[in-house]
Amino acid sequence: MKRMPLLAMAVVVGVSAAGCSGDAGSESGSSEEYPSGPVTMSVGADPGSGFDLTMRTLVDVLKKEEIVDVAMPIENHPGGASAVWTEQMVERHAGAEDQVSVTSLVMMTNNARGQSDFNVDDVTMIARLLSEYYVVVTAADSPYQDLESVLEAVVADPGAVPVGAASDDQLPFALLVDAAGGDASQIQFVAYDGGGEQSAALLSGDIKVAIGGASEFLPLIESGELRALAVVGDDRLDGLPDVPTAVEEGYDVTISNWRGIYGPPDMPEDAVTYWQDALQQAVESQSWDEAAEQNQWVTTFMVGDELDTYLEETNEQVTAAFEKIGQQ
C-alpha cells in the first residue's frame, strides 16, 4: 500500500496543475506594465464566509470579463474576524504590489473593540465595492408587525426581548434603540454566527427579533417563514420592495456594512490606479450585476477622496456607537 500516499499526491499535484493551467495560457506578453505577475487575492476568513464569497465572485468576474489577465490565486487566512490577516498585510507585506485583500465594516469594529491595532488608515484602501444593508426580521407568527413596536418593546423591557445578532451586527440595532430613546447598553443581545443560526432560532421561538445582512434571510422572507420589518440603509432593497427603511419609519439610522478592497500600506501608486480601474470595470459589468442581485448587494462603488471621507465618517459613527453600547 505504499502507493496510497503517492496516488494522493498525484491527485493533489494534478488538481493544482489543472488549477494553474487555466491562467497560464492567458498571460499576455506585457512584462513592463503592472501587473507583471500573479496577484494574490487574500481572504482573511474561512472559505464560505461573506468575505470569501465577495472575493471569489470578484475574481470570477475579473476573469470572465477579461479585465485582469494575470493569475489571481485566492488564499484564505482566517483568524480573529480577519484581524490576523490585516496584521500580516501591514507588518509583512507593506509596500507590496502583488497583495490584494477584502475587508468591511469589521475592520472598524475590530479596531473600536481593541481586538485589532489596525484600521482603514493603516492599509491602502483601494475601493468600496458594495454595501450590504441590514434587515430587522421576526418570525412570521410574531406579534411584532413593524419596527416601532419592536423598538418600543426593547426600550420598555430590554431583558424580555432578546435580540439575535452576530457580534458585529449589534451595532446597527444599538443605533436604532438609541434613536428610539432607549439605553443601548441594556439590550439583551444573543450572539449567533450568521443568518442560518439566527433563522433557526427565530423559527424555534428562541428569539423574537434578529438583525443581520439582508441576503442571509432572503429565502425565508420570500417563502413567508420570516417577516422583514425594516431595512437599515439609504434606500429600499430591490429584493424587498415592500419593506420600508428605518429612516422612513422615523429612525435616522443608515449605517450599512460596506465591503471593499485594500492593499498593504505603501502600495505602489500604479498598482492602486490599476486596481481602481479594474474594479470599476468589474462592477459595471453584466456578470457583476447578476451576482449582486442574487446576493442582495447594493453596488456602491467609491474610490479616492470620496472614499476617504466616507470611511472617516463611518468610523466616527462606529466609535460613537460602541461608546453607547458600552465595551462589549
Binding site: M1, V15, G48, G79, G196, L218, Q294
Partner: protein, 498 residues
C-alpha cells in the same frame, strides 16, 4: 408520491455518463482526503471550489457532495489500521477498530465500516427524500435550552467511553475542556487563554486538534520506539466478515442510521456527535461478555459509528437544502457553493430548481453504491498499509499532518500549535491518559457553553428554563434515567445478593 417521482427523475439525471464520472471523481477524491490525516472534507472542498467554478452547476455540486460523504468512508480506513482518524467524525471508530486490527481482524473491521457507511449513507438519502417535511419541523422546534441539555448529557458520557482508569479519563476530559475554551468567548468576545495572540482568538481548529491529538502522538509513539517492522501482533487472519460478524453488525447498522441521521438533521450537532452517540449507545445496550469486549475490539463499536457518521451527512443536508441553515462547517461551505451557482437553498429550492436538486440527491445514492463497490475489493489492498515499515508510514503521516495544518490558515502559527498540542497529546498518551475523551470534550464544551448561555440570556437569567420547557425536561429525564438507572440497579443487585 411526488418525492418518489422526483427521486426517479433525479436518478435518470444522475446516471448520465458525464454525471457518473463526476460522482466517481467526487467519491474517489473524498475517500483519499478522508484517508489522509491532515486533509478533511472542508479543506478538500475549499481547494476544489475554483475548479468546480468551471463546471456546470449539476456536475460541480455532484462532485463536491461526493467529496463530503466520500471522506466519511475514507476516514475509517486509517482510523482502523493505524489509529489516526482522517477526520473527527471517525475518531470513535479508532477505539475498537484499531483493537480489531491488532487482533488480526483488520479485514472484518474495514468491511463492516464500508457496509455500514453504505447503509447509513443510503438510508439517510431516503430519509432526506421522504421525511424532509417532518424533519424540518423537528430541526426548528429545538431551541438553545434543548441543545444545552443534550450536550451536557453527551459531555457526561465522554468519560464512560474508555476502559481503564476513570480518574485519568476525567483528567483527559478536563484537558480537552481547557483546550475547548481557548479563544474569544462566543457571546461577548472576551479573550480566554489567548495570551494576547490574535491567532488564538478563534480557538483551536477542530481539524488541527484531531491531527495533534491522534496522528502526532500515534506517529511519535511508533517512531520513538525505533520499530523497523510493524508489530507481529498485526497479522491478518481474514479479509472479510464472517456470518457472526455480519449478524453482530446488523443491529448497530440500524441504530446507527437513525441516531446519525437525527444528529445530522439538528443544526449544531452534526456527524461527529452522531458517531459518538452511536458508540455510546452500542456500548450501553451490549450485555455481559459483549460489553466487556468494548475497547478490546468489538465489531459493534465500528459498525455503529461508521454507519452514523455517513447517515449524519445525509441528515445535515436536510436543513441546508430546505431552510438554508447549515448544520456543520462543511455544509456551510456547500451552501455557499450552491449560492455561487445561482441556486438559493431554502423552502423554494425544490420548486425553483427541482430537477437539478433531485439529480444531486440521487447522485448521493449512486455515489454510496460506488463507494461500496470501490471499498470492498480495496479492503485487501488497504490492509497492506500495515506492511509499510513504520519509519516510512509514520514519517509520511507526520508530513501530511504538517501540510494539512499549514493549509488550514496558510500560517506558520498553525504548525507551532500542532507541534505544541501534539507533544501534550504524546505525553498524555504515554502516561495512559486517553485522548478520545479529550477531543470529544474539546468539541462538545464550546457547543454546550454557547447553548447554555444563549438559553439563559433568552430566559433573562432564569435557570428554570431547562425544566419549564417540556422537550428539555423530557431530555433531562431520559439522561437522568441513563445515568442513575445502572447505579440503582447494581445497588439493588448487591442488596439482593446479600
Amino acid at each position: 408520491m411526488e418525492a418518489l417521482e422526483g427521486l426517479l427523475t433525479g436518478l435518470a439525471g444522475a446516471l448520465t455518463p458525464t454525471n457518473l464520472v463526476f460522482v466517481f471523481l467526487g467519491v474517489l477524491i473524498g475517500t483519499i482526503v478522508g484517508v489522509l490525516p491532515g486533509l478533511g472534507p472542508i479543506t478538500a472542498i475549499a481547494l476544489l471550489i475554483p475548479l468546480s467554478f468551471g463546471l456546470e452547476a449539476t456536475s460541480g455540486l455532484i462532485l463536491l457532495s461526493g467529496v463530503y460523504y466520500g471522506a466519511m468512508y475514507g476516514g475509517s480506513i486509517t482510523s482502523i489500521l493505524i489509529r489516526t482518524p482522517g477526520e473527527v467524525a471517525s475518531a470513535v471508530t479508532a477505539l475498537d477498530g484499531h483493537q480489531m486490527a491488532k487482533n488480526g481482524q483488520a479485514g472484518p473491521a474495514l468491511a463492516t465500516a464500508a457496509v455500514g457507511s453504505f447503509i447509513g449513507g443510503s438510508l439517510a438519502v431516503l430519509g432526506l427524500v421522504f421525511l424532509s417535511p417532518v424533519l424540518v419541523d423537528l430541526s426548528t422546534s429545538i431551541g438553545a435550552a434543548e441543545y444545552a441539555v443534550l450536550l451536557a448529557g453527551a459531555l457526561a458520557l465522554t468519560t464512560s467511553l474508555m476502559t481503564g482508569s476513570k480518574i485519568k479519563a476525567l483528567i483527559a476530559v478536563l484537558v480537552g475542556m481547557c483546550i475547548g475554551t481557548i479563544g474569544l468567548d462566543a457571546q461577548e468576545s472576551v479573550p480566554r487563554w489567548t495570551f494576547g495572540s490574535i491567532e488564538l482568538s478563534d480557538g483551536v481548529d477542530i481539524a488541527l486538534l484531531a491531527m495533534a491529538l491522534f496522528a502526532v502522538p500515534e506517529a511519535l509513539r511508533h517512531l520513538s520506539r525505533g520499530e523497523r517492522t510493524t508489530a507481529a501482533a498485526i497479522k491478518v487472519q481474514r479479509a472479510w466478515m464472517n456470518k457472526e460478524d455480519l449478524r453482530r453488525s446488523l443491529g448497530p447498522y440500524a441504530r446507527g442510521s437513525v441516531v446519525g441521521f437525527v444528529a445530522g438533521v439538528m443544526p449544531g450537532l452534526g456527524p461527529t456527535l452522531g458517531s459518538f452517540a452511536s458508540y455510546s449507545l452500542e456500548r450501553r445496550i451490549a450485555k455481559g461478555a459483549r460489553r466487556a469486549l468494548f475497547g478490546r475490539g468489538a465489531i459493534e463499536g465500528v459498525a455503529g459509528p461508521e454507519t452514523a457518521n455517513n447517515a449524519g451527512v445525509g441528515g445535515a443536508m436536510v436543513p441546508m437544502l430546505a431552510l438554508a441553515i447549515p448544520g456543520s462547517a462543511t455544509t456551510a461551505l456547500l451552501l455557499v457553493v450552491f449560492q455561487m451557482y445561482g441556486l438559493q437553498p431554502g423552502p423554494q429550492l425544490f420548486q425553483n430548481d427541482g430537477p437539478l436538486v433531485w439529480t444531486i440527491v440521487a447522485s448521493m445514492l449512486v455515489g454510496n453504491a460506488m463507494l461500496l463497490v470501490l471499498n470492498l475489493p480495496m479492503v485487501r489492498l488497504f490492509i497492506n498499509l500495515l506492511k509499510v515499515p513504520p519509519p516510512l508510514l509514520y514519517g509520511g503521516v507526520i508530513a501530511f499532518v504538517m501540510l494539512g495544518a499549514y493549509a488550514l490558515t496558510f500560517s506558520f502559527f498553525s504548525l507551532m500549535l500542532l507541534v505544541a498540542i501534539g507533544l501534550i497529546g504524546y505525553l498524555m498518551q504515554e502516561n495512559g491518559f486517553p485522548l478520545t475523551p479529550a477531543i470529544l470534550a474539546a468539541v462538545l464544551l464550546p457547543l454546550l457553553e454557547l447553548n447554555l448561555r444563549r438559553a439563559l440570556l433568552i430566559a433573562d437569567g432564569d435557570w428554570t428554563v431547562f425544566v419549564d420547557r417540556p422537550l428539555s425536561l423530557g431530555i433531562l429525564i431520559i439522561i437522568a434515567i441513563g445515568v442513575f438507572a445502572p447505579l440503582l440497579l447494581s445497588a439493588a443487585r448487591r442488596e439482593y445478593a446479600r
